[in-house]
Amino acid sequence: MRRWLLALALSLLSLAVSASNTDEPRSADRQLLVMLQLPKAHFRPEASYGGSYGDTQGLALRKRQAEALARSHRLEFQSEWPMPLAEVDCFVMRLAAEDPRSLEQVAVEIEADKTVAWAQPVNEFRAHGTADEPLYATQPAAGQWHLAALHELATGRGVKVAVIDSGVAAEHPDLTGQLSLNENFVEDRAFAPEQHGTAVAGIIAARNDNGQGIAGVAPGARLLGLRACWQQGNGETLCNSLSLARALQAAVTNGAQVINMSLGGPRDRLLGVLIDQAMARGASVVAALGRSAADSFPASHPGVLAVGAGPPLPAGAVQAPGRDVPSTAANGGWTLVTGSSFSSAHAAGLLALLRELDGSKLRPLQAGLVMGQQGRIDSCATLTRHAAITPKGCLEEALRHTGD
């Protein structure tokens, strides 16, 4: 009863303005990504003379090659996106609606050309979680994870956490000053603060010093808001291969140490290459578990920390709070959210704390996680293992377990 009264009170207080786009996604519309190999950077004398790095050379040629490929395979050439991290130039082509061929079939045909590194359909990804009615309630992390005790040890100070998601409301009172970057990688869609990305960002790094709202798991972390997903009119959050690839590239370029991807879709070669590149540079990638094999990527990708809200968990996956979690809302208020998306956000926040304590020594960071029963992360044990002291809150938890 009290819960519903609180819900009603906060519903009235909260501005029920939902920033959402109602347009249908255009980019997943029978699109194909064709990758042409990008040469490595090297010495160029014209760079020394002119102050240019000379890396535009060959770009026009690759574009002409891509246009010729599009013509010969009866595709419409749409756009190009250099992906230096994956060492390819990525060209977007469209298969006409009336064309009877499948995207997979065209990809195989186009890969037969020696100039093509690979081709793949533009896959669609979905965020794993929903937002309920606005509600300010107790944070599961405060009780289950002894958040206050964890913050005695670390707050994730200075650790860069990339939130690859829908738009984050940077002006939210719990997120003001927490983002060092907030960029849009969704083609043809203007930036908008959206529900899913804002909730994920709040769980990771909401301020704990402003006397309102919630406290993030890592309030000292610096968030990189990388909008690769968009919110539909029905509240669903969608992303695609291209927007995610561009955001991943920006995460690495901007030195993200933890990358959170609370979303899932089919296996995607381009995203797999970029995730491997990010991990090879020392970043930890955290992803939400999907409900089926069709939406299990990137959680199923080797090296990625897969996080779910509850059992059953596949081998290697971990569990973190993800049910009835209060977090920041796009309209400036707070809301209750449920789903593995938010479990992933909790784990990303915890990795940021771990990074602050022991970051340079742990590779991968998740190797430092201490697991409890049923794949639950034991946050207290994880942090005290890497800190010189055990805070009171964690000590009580340890004694309780000893008593059991």
């Binding site: 040469p39 950077a41 090297h42």
Partner: protein
């Protein structure tokens, strides 16, 4: 003929193009053609053309740059700079390269010189060491070390910074009263618009270093460049 290396490079590019190599080129105009901080166009605008070939699988590359240069005492020449090298992956985000470049001056062949170089290349930086046994035909060996940085900026701009240090090694035929070494620098921004790129930079060098036969009057300049790649 200074254009000969350029045509050799073009033929080389055309010959290996069918084996999955990228062949590209560029045309550029600079308000002042500066090499290692010094003006080789007497502070005047100059055009240049380049051709380059890259074999992505092996990391082999080569190319040529053609430009006009103005030396002291009204001596002008066409210059062709021919280069080749190979880049290797050390680890993700870190490559190394080894190569050589040879500069030929059509009307002043005694200034011809070659260099070998080795470098390390990160994603936003690179550093190289160049060694020559007769820098610009000065009779003096030289070592040049450079560090280049690149940083994405708002509005599609890219920030660029360069510092270099040239040192003459051994006895100089024409000793420089300002010493054997000469630091140079460049700081600027660039913006790419499709195949076009515009650059604006503040370029300069101190006095000293091996003798290089160009006017020492303007040690610093604001340089505007426009280039088109093909």
């Amino acid at each position: 003929m200074a254009t000969r290396p350029f045509f050799v490079a073009t033929l080389f590019a055309a010959a290996i193009a069918p084996v999955h190599a990228d062949v590209g080129g560029s045309l550029a105009v600079q308000s002042d053609t500066r090499w290692r901080g010094l003006s080789y166009s007497d502070g005047k605008p100059q055009a240049q053309a380049s051709v380059a070939v890259d074999h992505a699988d092996s990391g082999l590359y080569g190319g040529a740059l053609l430009t006009r240069v103005s030396f002291d005492y009204d001596r002008d020449s066409t210059a062709a700079q021919l280069y080749a090298g190979r880049v290797f992956r050390l680890q993700p985000g870190l490559d190394t390269e080894f190569g050589a470049q040879y500069t030929h001056f059509a009307a002043l062949t005694r200034y011809d010189y070659g260099e070998v170089f080795a470098g390390l290349l990160g994603e936003a930086w690179n550093t190289r060491l160049y060694l020559s046994n007769d820098y610009f035909g000065s009779g003096q060996r030289s070592a040049y070390v450079e560090l280049n940085l690149q940083q994405p900026l708002p509005w599609g701009l890219s920030g660029q910074a360069h510092v270099g240090w040239l040192r003459g090694i051994g006895r100089a035929r024409w000793p420089n009263p300002d010493g054997d070494s000469r630091p140079d620098w460049r700081i600027g921004v660039a913006r790419r618009m499709g195949v076009f790129e515009a650059q604006l930079g503040w370029v300069g060098a101190t006095r000293g270093g091996p003798y290089t036969w160009v006017s020492a009057a303007h040690r610093e300049a604001l340089v505007l460049g426009l280039s088109a790649s093909f």
